[in-house]
């Protein structure tokens, strides 16, 4: 009998526009659920990642937790080509489990450019 006991719920994040480079400007692309009235601790595993480069130049997109000096990469940075969109799914993403907000930032950006990021996660707990 196949078990589904460890399956989580697929939840999409919003489309987050990253318009400033460097870790100091890292923004949350998915926030962990921590409502005071919920029962138990929630975590999530990113399952799909879609990125659109709005003339930001070829860049590395960092994915992790925290911001500024406290930013920690949770996945290897992904290469995003100028004015193109890219997506990563399931088997292409390591099953890293997040217990804090997932944040992201572009390592560099051409002036006036930005990156749109959306992640779909499996929420567990």
């Amino acid at each position: 009998m196949e078990t589904q006991l460890d399956k989580g719920v697929l939840v999409p994040g919003g489309v987050i526009n990253l318009a400033a480079a460097l870790a100091a400007n890292a923004l949350p692309i998915f926030q962990v659920s921590n409502f005071a009235q919920q029962i138990g601790t929630k975590s999530f595993i990113p399952r799909k990642l879609r990125v659109r480069n709005n003339a930001g130049g070829d860049l590395w997109l960092h994915l992790g937790t925290g911001a500024g000096i406290g930013f920690l990469d949770s996945l290897p940075p992904v290469r995003v080509t100028n004015v193109m969109d890219t997506s990563w799914q399931d088997v292409e993403l390591a099953g890293v489990e997040f217990f804090a907000d997932m944040t992201a930032y572009p390592a560099a950006l051409v002036a006036g450019g930005s990156v749109d990021v959306q992640v779909e996660v499996e929420e567990i707990g």
Binding site: M1, L5, D6, I39, S43, G125
Partner: protein
């Protein structure tokens, strides 16, 4: 009627309640034993009963009581469970009485139980009123765990006391009775 209901549970390979309404039960805790009759049964959906918290690599957590499993007076619970995180968890029922205890080792339940025993039958345990169980998480890996969450589901049973005549009949074996051991060991 009760056999029909049980057949549905068995066919779906789900969790079968240990007793139906109007069944007699012999509740045994670690310190006492008594006879009751079941008056009500309610299924409890899966919920996170306890998060032991972060556990360092190759470390054992403190033994932590699961107060969220407390029941009202005259109630007993039938539970199955598994750890949501990659830890080996030992159960104590209550905190000083180990569950799944063999002569030399106490068996801990890992997350892999959901593949090895999909119905979680082998994790089943019972509790009486607010004699809460305790869990102890072992992080056997080389990396720290952010959480050690325990998921539980099962049934809650309300019971009523019995008159002496009925108890005498139960003790004499004249009426059917279901033993319910609400402790690590009888």
């Amino acid at each position: 009627m009760s056999e029909e209901m049980l057949r549905a549970y068995k066919a779906a390979r789900m969790m079968e309640p240990v007793a139906q309404v109007d069944y007699y039960v012999n509740v045994k805790t670690y310190k006492e034993e008594f006879y009751r009759k079941v008056t009500f049964r309610e299924a409890i959906p899966p919920f996170q009963v306890l998060d032991i918290g972060a556990i360092l690599a190759q470390n054992v957590s403190a033994r932590t009581n699961a107060g969220n499993l407390d029941l009202q007076d005259n109630e007993f619970g039938q539970w199955r469970w598994f750890p949501l995180d990659n830890a080996m968890v030992r159960l104590f029922n209550p905190t000083g009485v180990s569950k799944f205890q063999l002569k030399f080792i106490q068996i801990g339940v890992e997350k892999s139980i959901i593949y090895r025993d999909p119905t979680l039958l082998t994790t089943e345990f019972f509790t009486w009123q607010d004699e809460r169980p305790a869990f102890e998480g072992m992080n056997f890996s080389d990396y720290g765990l952010n959480a050690c969450r325990i998921l539980v589901f099962g049934y809650r049973f309300k019971t009523e006391e019995l008159d002496k005549v009925t108890i005498d009949k139960l003790e004499a074996g004249q009426l059917p009775v279901t033993p319910v051991v609400c402790a690590g060991s009888p």
